[in-house]
Point group: C2
Chain length 151, copies 2
Amino acid sequence: MLGTLKEEDIEKLLTEQYIGRLGCHVQGTTYIVPINYVYSNGKVYAHSAPGQKIRMMRSNPQVCFQVDQIRNTFNWKSVVCWGRFEEIADSSEKQNVLQGIIHRMMPLTNTPSEQPSHGTGKTDAYDEEIIVFKIVLYLKTGRFELNERYN
Amino acid sequence: MLGTLKEEDIEKLLTEQYIGRLGCHVQGTTYIVPINYVYSNGKVYAHSAPGQKIRMMRSNPQVCFQVDQIRNTFNWKSVVCWGRFEEIADSSEKQNVLQGIIHRMMPLTNTPSEQPSHGTGKTDAYDEEIIVFKIVLYLKTGRFELNERYN
């Protein structure tokens, strides 16, 4: 059985998951990259070191964001959204977002009380190496496939 | 530790995985969709019902293909490739590809000896509802992050 996800199922999947794929495009080149994110109220919050995806999104802020939950080939959900990249420059908003991302990610490791050993875990909002951004979603779609026989 | 995957590690990840994300772009819209695939010799083989991704790739065959293996936020591998969409029209090649995909997918369900109950498992090369295609890759890149502490 193939179907379309309801609005509430789309919101649930976006909220429950923490890894999505971001797709951006500049001058004939499409680029997909997995990102850690936190979803809240129609916005996807994430951070990144400077690099290809940031350069591309600064050039063309129209992006695609995709999240899925795949049990197997015949049982899956996938949400595809479109939105606009916006960089977060304000120090306190930046710090709030970074803390939210860290709190979302930390329980997923085996040492939840520790900070990660590399740059992505820094909470110093003044660290210019970390770019914090949001994707303001304007369209969300979702599909699923369910086959009890292969569940 | 962040790093670049060697050519052999890129080939290994592409071969071992069976779900990837395809990114296509037409007239300002980027679209990411998860697909089942079989990788062989620089080519990604897959099938699809007619729909948005097929329409988009027929219009612009330059696509991005991304595969990853994510243990957690601090331990992952990701391969990003670029290639050209080519539809497979020849009946015997189409049938060979479909059988290859089915053999790759079937051991992943709990009932490997059975055929799936819906269209994607059909092997009839004359079924015009199923489009079989390959992505001929021309560039493959790979990155990884490894943090024993969070493994």
